[in-house]
């Protein structure tokens, strides 16, 4: 016993001694720290509630003052400097030492009881674990129900696109099927663990196989999965191939770059012009920067409109053509159940038909501040998480009216045939 206890007590004493010594040394200075004076100033500023509502510029990601960091400044006033990393190391040391104390105490108590002759009955661990498995089953199911209750409101509202409705439907069917299997199998697992735990006089049965049962529980999942596959295949083909072959559609290009989006509308001629990546960020006649690498030798480019906002017409097939400037991005429109990678060098497409205008959708889900959002869904660099654009769905007539009134990307009609490729 002494082999275990003595070194531990010694190390604890030494540790406590050093902790107190170092703490006294470093923390003692905090009170006179000049930082505190500055901290006081910051405190005044933060009393002003206006900063809370100020929108954060997109590219200040590295330099944001989040609520947490500001709280830290308030803490700096106090005697313990929680910005000092030493604080955290010492806290961890204290926690570890407390654990050692606990463990040693338990061992001492055990040893004492053995010496005194009292037999401490070891709990029946099989019974304990069996009970815990059963309890876990109920807690688990309860927790899932609880979570569904509180998180249901955060799930996506109904689909804002036509194909999305079928996706939602098969999603819920799959959920129902897998949910059923989930509950039954988890219940069986934990109930068996509880019921057949080792008991006095219990023996296991020798039951190595039952081929009929194997065939049964191979065939049933196979049938269920086949149905899911057939359903899913039909919806997939509809969403991808059939929609792609729609005869009438409105084409819009999503151009992804590090770290934002530009949207190109075909203008009155209904055609998107050619692009050439070598022309990116060159200067167009009229002085604008060719951010989307438009090739103005293509006559279809003359009326292409480029905006920072994605506007979709309601009730018609919209062909979203996707392209990237630099690395892989992905256009993620969760409310429309749409997603497609933006690949540099290979245009991709996703076709969808919006069902509601933004206004209509706001009243449907009862959220007057709601906006559809476009996110990037393929890791693309530091600000991957901040490539946000708003999507607006408007009536078709509003859309066509808007498109004819907007100015195209470059305005000099007589220079439109100049071959920009000869810039030297």
């Amino acid at each position: 016993m002494s082999k275990i206890v003595a070194p531990r007590i010694l190390s604890m004493v030494l540790g406590l001694f050093f902790t107190i010594a170092i703490a006294q040394n470093s923390f003692a200075q905090t009170h006179e720290s000049p930082d505190n004076a500055a901290a006081v100033e910051h405190v005044d500023e933060t009393q002003n509630p206006q900063w809370k509502n100020a929108p954060l510029p997109q590219d200040l990601a590295n330099k944001r003052l989040s609520q947490f960091a500001l709280d830290k400044q308030l803490d700096a006033n106090k005697s313990i400097d929680t910005n000092n990393s030493l604080f955290y190391w010492l806290i961890s040391l204290i926690v570890i030492m407390l654990l050692i104390v606990l463990g040693t105490a338990m061992k001492l108590l055990n040893g004492l009881s053995k010496i005194s002759g009292a037999t401490t009955k070891e709990p029946n661990y099989d019974k304990l674990n069996g009970n815990m498995f059963l309890a876990f089953l109920f807690v688990f199911m309860g927790a899932i129900l609880y979570e569904i209750m509180i998180h249901k409101q955060y799930l996506l509202p109904e689909s804002a696109s036509k194909h999305g409705q079928s996706i939602d439907m098969i999603l819920w069917i799959t959920f129902a099927l897998t949910g059923f299997v989930f509950v039954v199998t988890q219940a069986l697992l934990f109930i068996f663990a509880f019921k057949y735990r080792q008991k006095e006089g219990q023996t296991a049965i020798y039951y190595p196989k039952n081929d009929k049962l194997e065939i049964l529980w191979t065939t049933i999942p196979a049938v269920v999965l086949t149905l899911l596959v057939l359903f899913g295949f039909r919806i997939w083909v509809n969403t991808t191939i059939t929609n792609a072959n729609a005869e009438e559609y409105y084409e819009i290009e999503l151009y992804a770059y590090q770290f934002g989006w530009k949207f190109r509308y075909p203008g009155p001629d209904g055609k998107l012009g050619r692009t050439d990546y070598r022309l990116t960020n060159t200067e167009l006649p009229g002085g604008t920067v060719n951010a989307i690498a438009l090739d103005i030798t293509d006559p279809a480019s003359a009326d292409d409109i480029v905006k920072d906002e994605l506007i979709l017409p309601k009730g018609v097939m919209v062909k979203l053509r996707m392209r990237s400037r630099d690395v892989l991005h992905a256009a993620h429109l969760p409310h429309f159940r749409a997603q497609m990678y933006c690949v540099p060098g290979t245009p991709t497409q996703f076709n969808l038909e919006p069902l509601y205008t933004t206004e209509e959708f706001r009243s449907r889900i009862n959220k007057p501040d709601f906006n559809f959002e476009l996110a990037c869904n393929q890791i693309c660099g530091a600000s991957h998480y901040a490539m946000k654009r708003e999507i607006k769905v408007v009536e078709l007539k509003d859309y066509t009216a808007w498109m004819s009134s907007e100015k195209p990307l470059f305005t000099s009609a007589e220079n439109s045939n100049t071959n920009q490729l000869t810039l030297k």
């Binding site: 070598r278 490729l421 000869t422 810039l423 030297k424």
Partner: protein, 315 residues
């Protein structure tokens, strides 16, 4: 460490104390290693197929590979040379088979003889491949230029080793192309060096004046002729090699290089094996299984070449 186990005959081949695949562990390992190497090459050849069959145009092998050393250095013998290379490699596989067979008969002298022939065959193949490479390089095909240097901005160049105008030149020396075509006054001309092709408009190698420094075009690239001199394109629009040609070059050098690396390592292993056989180590062991295993590797290398040859030169 070797482990002695007792092998039994009869009964089910999957029972214990059997060589399940009828081969000692060394051979089993070699087979599975070859299987994994086959997947590596398959991945590369699949990549080749991916690019080849998604392109509408592609360099034509009969045009690209039509020279033969000494007899037709400027072309005119389409695919003859590569046919010779293939023949040499297959012949070396044959001599390898003979070596293995001699090993079964424990005929040390014959094993040595056939191994020597195999090594000669392999080395000849490598030299032929080297000739093919240098010939294509001479014509202007290569895998590309280091990308990292493209990322040098002028500020960086100023700060580090070069400055101002030198920066541009420094960048340009890393973006050099060997032009194959040019457009002058709207008409397309081939820049042929010394090559002559039937029925095409041809500019001689000295059409463009030489320059001491690289002369940049709108893409920031400079041009060299086949002799390694910078050329000044003037107002002529240089047509860069097509994307397909460049991709062909990248794939060709990469895959044949990877295969050549295997041939080279095979030759090295064969030399080591030859040394072992000459020293009589096989005879001492009582069996020539090592020769068989190396033979397996050599046949694999040959087989891969057949696929590479088919994909690059025939399809």
């Amino acid at each position: 460490m070797s482990t002695e186990i007792t092998i039994e005959n009869g009964g089910n081949v999957w029972d214990g104390r059997r060589l399940a695949l009828g081969a000692t562990y060394g051979k089993v390992m070699m087979w599975f290693f070859l299987l994994s190497d086959a997947f590596t090459f398959s991945a590369f050849l699949t990549a080749y197929g991916f690019f080849r069959f998604s392109s509408t145009t592609w360099p034509s092998p009969e045009v690209v590979f039509q020279s033969f050393p000494i007899f037709a250095p400027h072309g005119g013998w389409p695919l003859v040379f590569v046919g010779l290379m293939t023949f040499i490699l297959i012949a070396s596989s044959l001599t390898m088979v003979l070596a293995v067979e001699a090993g079964h008969r424990k005929d040390n002298k014959s094993v040595v003889r056939y191994l020597v022939f195999t090594i000669i065959g392999g080395a000849t193949f490598l030299s032929c491949q080297a000739y093919e490479w240098s010939h294509l390089l001479h014509q202007g095909l290569w895998i590309g230029i280091s990308n990292n240097d493209f990322q040098v901005t002028e500020e960086m160049a100023d700060g580090e080793h070069h400055g101002g105008e030198d920066a541009k030149e420094w960048i340009a020396t890393r973006r050099i192309f060997y032009p194959v075509k040019t457009v002058i006054d709207g008409e397309e001309w081939n820049i042929g060096g010394e090559e002559k092709h039937e029925g095409t408009r041809m500019l001689g190698p000295d059409y463009f004046p030489k320059s001491d420094k690289p002369v940049l075009d709108y893409n920031g690239v400079a041009y060299m002729n086949g002799h390694g001199d910078y050329i000044n394109p003037g107002d002529a629009e240089m047509v860069l090699p097509s994307g397909e040609t460049m991709m062909f070059g990248k794939l060709f050098f990469f895959i044949t290089g990877f295969h050549g690396f295997h041939v080279f390592s095979g030759v090295v292993i064969l030399v080591i094996l030859l040394t072992m056989v000459v020293k009589g180590m096989m005879a001492k062991r009582g069996h020539y299984e090592m020769v068989e295993k190396v033979g397996l590797y050599w046949h694999f290398v040959d087989l891969v070449w057949v696929f590479v040859f088919t994909l690059f030169y025939l399809i």
